[in-house]
Amino acid sequence: MRFLLRRSALLLAALFGMSVLIFIALRVLPGDVASVMAGLNATPARVAALRQELGLNRSYLQQYVDWSGNVIHGNLGVSVLTGRDVGAQILSRVQITFPLILLGLFLACLFGIPLGCASILAPHAGVRQGLHMLALVGGALPALWGAMLFIMLFAKGSGLIKIFPSQGFPDEGWKQPVSACASLVLPALTVGIIVGASIMRYTRSALQEMLASEFVDMGMACGMTRVQAVLRIGLRIVSPQLVSVIGMTFAEMITGVMVIENLFALPGIGSMLVTDVGNRDLLTVQSELFVLAAFFLCIGFAVDVVHRILDPRLKGAALLASAEGMQ
């Protein structure tokens, strides 16, 4: 309970720190928001008017209080360039990005954990080697390239086996569940392969340590076979580690997701962010970055809590305890 309270306090502090960081980064770094927005050949008067309109000539503190107050009330502002409500935009975009990430993660675990176990426990040495190579190559694959290989293989129209659409998302969104799912299959597969490869590697190395541990010896003494002992006891012991690894890959996944959303022309939050950075719609970018950062900080929070639940040994210096406990 004390842990939960401390960790939530940290989460709040991190959210605050993040908002300040994003705010300051977009103000202090070179490139005045107003002059960027007004365009290249804007008159000074126009820039000044724009500054007035955007409220940029007030003090930074006042601006920050205004913005963060709005964010706390759920009002993420309105894009000055397009006049659309940022919050509503993000909400509609998240409906695509979130299922994509979840589906990708699901596929990754589906491939990664069993194959990782198999690459340690398979009876044939050649199979073990092959699976290990597969994981290594999967981890070295650029998201962009992996996606293109999938398009060449499975895309409707140009692929070898023409099953899945390679571009866009149905206009009706989730009202057409079948075609919506179909358009997410290839992107999710790409994300899943890349994340799955790293999950596979970590599963393998964690189980490798387990192979020689006294836990497995104990299981075998109780009458289990070696494979049973590793799967039942070893896997349970390493599960907290795996959760934190999955949490960490989750954060890195967003790079892949942004690339993949752009490539497959999915109107998700990643492609939105890239478009807005390209348009120099800075006030919108500020809110979007904050929402994304908050999302990932919450993931980190959830991972820590799950880790704690799975591994009751973690008291005090968490990392040291886990390192010593493993030896």
């Binding site: 940290l10 989460l11 502090a13 991190a14 720190g17 993040m18 994003i22 980064a25 977009l26 770094l29 070179p30 490139g31 290594l136 190559v137 981890g139 070295a140 694959l141 650029p142 998201a143 962009l144 390239w145 293109m148 290989l149 398009i151 060449m152 129209g157 140009s158 949490g247 960490m248 954060a251 890195e252 996944m253 967003i254 790079t255 892949g256 942004m258 690339v259 752009n262 490539l263 962010l273 890239v274 950075v277 390209g278 120099r280 800075l282 970018v285 970055l289 994304l292 950062a293 990932f296 900080l297 993931i299 980190g300 991972v303 210096a317 990392l319 040291l320 886990s322 390192a323 010593e324």
Partner: protein, 327 residues
């Protein structure tokens, strides 16, 4: 003079034992080829980078253009060769930034009984759940796309990872008897850190830094595709990949080469770290152990470690480490 000769002996032994392993040989070959091509491309490429032939765009591979030409009629081989230079630069710079930043963080986390140490652990745990691409986006808004943005964002993110992953081991070292002995002899904290802690966690550092080098190549291709990485007109593998993406249905061959190169190099970098860790460890490499006994009899243990560090051809890490441990 003898210590230089000793360093060369160690280097030869380590390289030879790496060459004997299949994955070590693969990584040495690929990385050697990469260095060679980068070097050659500084003085010579088959065609000038800016030579274009508007009448012969998207040509198939021929004797004239071994891999064909791209959309503006420029020679593919020349661009890929020149790209290897940019990618090498990005890799080296990122390793430097990661090593310096990560080790500074680690040092801060080891200082006991200070507010700073406790806070740094907490802050790093929070920051680590943020994807580097968000940082790159923040930086790219004011500065525009550039190599520096990639290096800064990735170096920061990987530095956090490095510190976090190396911390448990570093703590164990910091609490060991010989650190206590050194401290009671009046050694300064910085000396102890560089002379004892860093050499003893070298295996983790080597693996993490070579992984960072691989990951930054992947990140470069992703970020460049999103328009926040390498500027257009600068040759890089990610750039070649990104520009050929839109034509994948028409000219799939052009996409193949750059993706293949990136995958091979990243794979080689990941394997290189693992192989180096195993082969440069005197505990598992008997040959290395024997020359240590012969050649290093009169030398302090710190000096031995520093010379074997020089051979870890990631010379960058060496700079950070040898300075302290060689004293």
């Amino acid at each position: 003079m003898t210590s230089v000769r000793y360093a060369f002996t160690v280097m030869r032994v380590v390289l030879r034992s790496m060459w004997r392993r299949a994955e070590g040989r693969f990584s040495l070959l690929v990385l050697g080829l990469w260095l060679l091509v980068s070097l050659v491309s500084m003085f010579w490429t088959p065609w000038s980078l800016w030579w274009t032939d508007g009448y012969h765009v998207w040509q198939k591979p021929s004797m004239l253009h071994i891999l064909g030409t791209d959309g503006s009629g420029a020679d593919m081989v020349s661009w890929l060769m020149a790209g290897s230079r940019t990618n090498l630069l990005i890799c080296v710079l990122t390793i430097v930034v990661t090593a310096i930043f990560g080790l500074l963080l680690l040092a801060a986390m080891l200082v006991r009984a200070t507010m700073l140490a406790q806070m740094s652990v907490v802050v790093i745990d929070a920051l680590i759940s943020l994807p580097t691409v968000l940082l790159a986006l923040i930086l790219a808004v004011p500065f525009g796309p550039s190599v520096a943005v990639i290096v800064a964002a990735c170096g920061f993110g990987y530095g956090l990872n490095l510190a976090r992953i190396a911390r448990p081991q570093a703590l164990l070292v910091a609490r060991s008897g010989y650190v206590e002995a050194a401290m009671s002899n009046g050694a300064r904290a910085s000396r102890v850190f560089l002379g004892h802690v860093v050499p003893n966690i070298r295996p983790v550092l080597v693996v993490q830094l070579s992984m960072s080098a691989g990951t930054v190549i992947l990140a470069e291709s992703g970020l460049t595709y999103l328009g926040i990485g390498v500027q257009s007109g600068v040759p890089s593998w990610g750039h070649s990949l990104a520009t050929s993406v839109s034509f994948i249905n028409v000219y799939p061959l052009t996409v193949l080469w750059s993706g293949l190169i990136i995958t091979c190099v990243v794979l080689a970098l990941n394997l290189f770290g693992d192989a180096l860790r195993d082969c440069a460890d005197p505990l598992s490499n008997a040959e290395l152990r024997s020359i240590r006994q012969d050649g290093g009899a009169g030398q302090s243990s710190g000096e031995q470690q520093s010379s074997s560090e020089q051979q870890s051809s990631s010379a960058v890490l060496g700079q950070g480490v040898t300075r302290g441990s060689g004293q």
